[in-house]
């Protein structure tokens, strides 16, 4: 049955919904994976696929290829605001912590300076900002990308090992409303990839 159309959610009335792994023994298609030799070819293929109306697709490469992300209509990542908020939170909490501790919590008279001697709180405020920016950056990246995730269907493909080596891939996922195994395969073949294979869940 995997060779026939794999309907997206909401399709195939009258059939048992075979999308939700109802029968684990029956393999479900994850998508079609096309392998390319260069990053430019990959980016070009994504452009074509997006123009053809595919929406659930992604490119994979051993090093960042900016054109691929552009073609996927992902011109700007959300990490900037995330890290900004993280840094701002760290700076504010660092400053408030020092203010509270040295003004109210445990006030010490150091050389007759006022308890709220804010200039001496600047270095730690700065350090706290840098620390929280970096930590939100790393953990935010992981969270937004859904990592760490050790079992991805794409890892079922033997070819995909080369995605971290010397090949560039485009995967059109079966969840795409426009996905049709035969048609999509023909479409990908027309883009002159090295190979196209069906990847199972």
């Amino acid at each position: 049955m995997s060779t026939t159309v794999t309907p997206g959610p909401g399709h195939a009335p009258g059939h048992a919904p075979d999308h939700g792994h109802a029968d684990p023994t029956v393999p479900v298609t994850h998508g079609l994976l096309a392998m390319f030799e260069t990053g430019d070819q990959m980016a070009h293929a994504i452009e074509k696929a997006v123009a053809a109306g595919y929406t659930h697709l992604d490119g994979f490469s051993p090093y960042p290829v900016g054109e691929a992300a552009d073609a996927l209509k992902f011109p700007k990542s959300e990490m900037g605001p995330v890290m900004f908020i993280g840094g701002l939170t760290g700076a504010c909490s660092g400053f408030i912590m020092q203010y509270w501790a040295n003004t109210w919590g445990y006030s010490l008279n150091i050389g007759g300076r006022p308890y709220f001697s804010w200039p001496s709180f600047v270095p730690i405020t700065f350090e706290m900002m840098v620390l929280t920016t970096a930590l939100t950056g790393f953990f935010g990246l992981m969270a937004i990308c859904g990592l760490p995730r050790y079992n991805h269907p794409l890892f079922n493909s033997k070819n995909f090992e080369r995605a971290t080596r010397d090949r560039f891939f485009v995967c059109i996922e079966a969840t795409d409303p426009k996905f049709n195994l035969a048609e999509t395969r023909t479409f990908l073949n027309d883009l002159h990839p090295v190979a196209v294979e069906e990847v199972m869940e």
């Binding site: 490469s61 960042p64 020092q98 040295n102 445990y106 270095p123 700065f126 706290m128 970096a134 990308c145």
Partner: protein, 474 residues
């Protein structure tokens, strides 16, 4: 005819970016880059040099273990510290190691923002060096505490006594600066490693390697969307690490400059410390890179061209440091203060004067005479010699600064300081810890960034045409 003299049409011949020098020698492609760097780790065949370095480090690490055990048993009295020189070797070594730890983040952050692509060859292992050097540095204040098991008292935490740290003290700033520096360097380093670990996972043939690198790679699969986010994070980390690097040694210099000890209480201390840190950090990077590239035959990636550039950076920072020494003496003389000038005279010609002249010799005269010559900058033997000289010189610089305490205001408060056997043992032991960790790193992690090297290759060799890791991140 004048027109006949004109060169042929140049526009098509010129590359878009003026590429001065090929940064990767020989015809590498994506696979050969991965093999050259990755197989060092995956094959696990190590040259004799690796064993020598590793075993030397391991032996010295045992000295550290013995010294620390004895310290915990007896107390800090086994060191030569006393009033007036209450800091002694502990702070000398702390500042020296922190300084060495500056090169890594400088190379990975500042040079990243400045689009200095030659950094790609050295950023990974200099970041590793940073982490290990900061570990060694952190050891000394902890051991110097006397009761290191109470180290967490340095941090603000709610406690029964209701006591909070004194946030106006540079020593408290130092705790935050060094902790932040260590954490951010670790995050930066690991983030850079993730795609490489994924590459190793897919390249590995042994089962345990596939599992180990697979776990560490966090399931990275090189998705275009992930890459875009990744590059943005990398760029911002570079941006915030740049002021961080400068802030760390600035805060370390505040430990001295905020006091009222003559010659410490100087506004030049922060820039002077930062340039000294870069000087010694670069010296350590080159001193280690030279033997390593020879043992592992990585001349294609770390070429003489790299050595030449690093030599130039050392020349520049060396002169900044020398200007610092000059300025200290000048300010003391021109300021017409009895104590400043008196302490300067004691520093140069007092009982510890020999260490001042060692500093000038090792740090200024020898390196700055020879670094001018390109022939010397590209000669491994000479560069190794110069770098070791700089490392010794920078150690003496901190020694000279700390020993100032022996001769400050009133002669009645003067004293002497002499390190003991255990001071030397801890110092050599910290070097052992550094070497031990560094050689383990060479053994288990890719010492050059495979991903960035691939991206740096020309397009016709499969690469990204000289892009560097954050240039696709709007």
């Amino acid at each position: 005819m004048a027109t006949a003299e004109l060169p042929p049409a140049r526009s098509t011949e010129l590359p878009l970016e003026p590429e001065m020098h090929p940064l990767v020698r020989n015809k590498h492609d994506l696979v050969s880059v991965g093999d050259a760097i990755g197989e060092v780790v995956l094959k696990g065949e190590h040259p004799r040099g690796w064993w020598i370095g590793f075993l030397a480090g391991f032996a010295m690490l045992q000295i550290l273990a013995i010294a620390v055990c004895w310290l915990f048993y007896v107390g800090v009295g086994i060191w030569g510290i006393n009033v007036p020189v209450a800091w002694g070797f502990a702070i000398v070594n702390f500042v020296w190691w922190i300084g060495i730890g500056h090169a890594g983040t400088l190379i990975s952050a500042i040079l990243l923002l400045l689009h200095q692509k030659w950094r790609t060859s050295i950023n990974r292992f200099s970041e590793a060096m940073t982490i290990f050097a900061v570990m060694c540095a952190g050891l000394f204040p902890l051991l110097h505490m006397g009761r290191p098991w109470f180290f967490y008292w340095l941090y603000p935490f709610p406690n029964v006594a209701g006591v909070w740290p004194q946030f106006r003290s540079p020593l408290t700033w130092d705790v935050f600066a060094v902790t932040t520096y260590f954490t951010v360097s670790l995050v930066f380093w690991y983030l850079g490693l993730v795609p490489d670990l994924a590459a190793l996972r897919d390249q590995a043939r042994k089962r345990w390697q596939q599992i180990a690198y697979g776990l560490l790679a966090l399931g990275w699969r090189g998705s275009a969307i992930h890459w875009r986010r990744y590059e943005k994070v990398y760029l911002i980390l570079g941006g915030i690490s740049t002021p961080l690097v400068l802030s760390v040694h600035t805060v370390v210099s505040f430990d001295f400059a905020v006091s009222i000890v003559p010659l410490w209480h100087a506004t030049i201390f922060p820039p002077f410390f930062v340039s000294g840190a870069i000087y010694s950090g670069f010296a350590m990077v080159v001193a280690i890179a030279l033997p390593v590239r020879k043992w592992y035959k990585l001349e294609d990636f770390f070429s003489d061209h790299h050595m030449d550039i690093m030599g130039k950076v050392m020349l520049a920072t060396g002169f900044l440091v020398t200007y610092g020494y000059f300025s200290e003496a000048w300010m003391a003389w021109y300021g017409h203060t009895l104590y400043e000038w008196g302490t300067t005279m004691e520093r140069m010609f007092g009982p510890y004067g020999w260490s001042y002249w060692c500093l000038i010799g090792f740090n200024c005269v020898f390196p700055l005479t020879f670094l001018w010559s390109k022939k010397i900058r590209t000669s491994p033997f000479w560069m190794e010699l110069i770098c070791i000289s700089v490392l010794i010189g920078m150690w003496f610089e901190r020694y000279v600064i700390v020993i100032t305490l022996a001769r400050e205001y009133v002669p009645a408060g003067w004293g002497t300081y002499a390190p003991t056997f255990w001071d030397y043992a801890t110092m050599i032991g910290s070097l052992g810890l550094f070497l031990f960790l560094f050689f383990l790193f060479l053994r288990y992690l890719p010492m050059i960034s495979i991903t960035e090297m691939r991206e740096l290759l020309p397009k016709k060799q499969g690469g990204g045409g000289g892009h560097s890791i954050m240039e696709n991140a709007p």
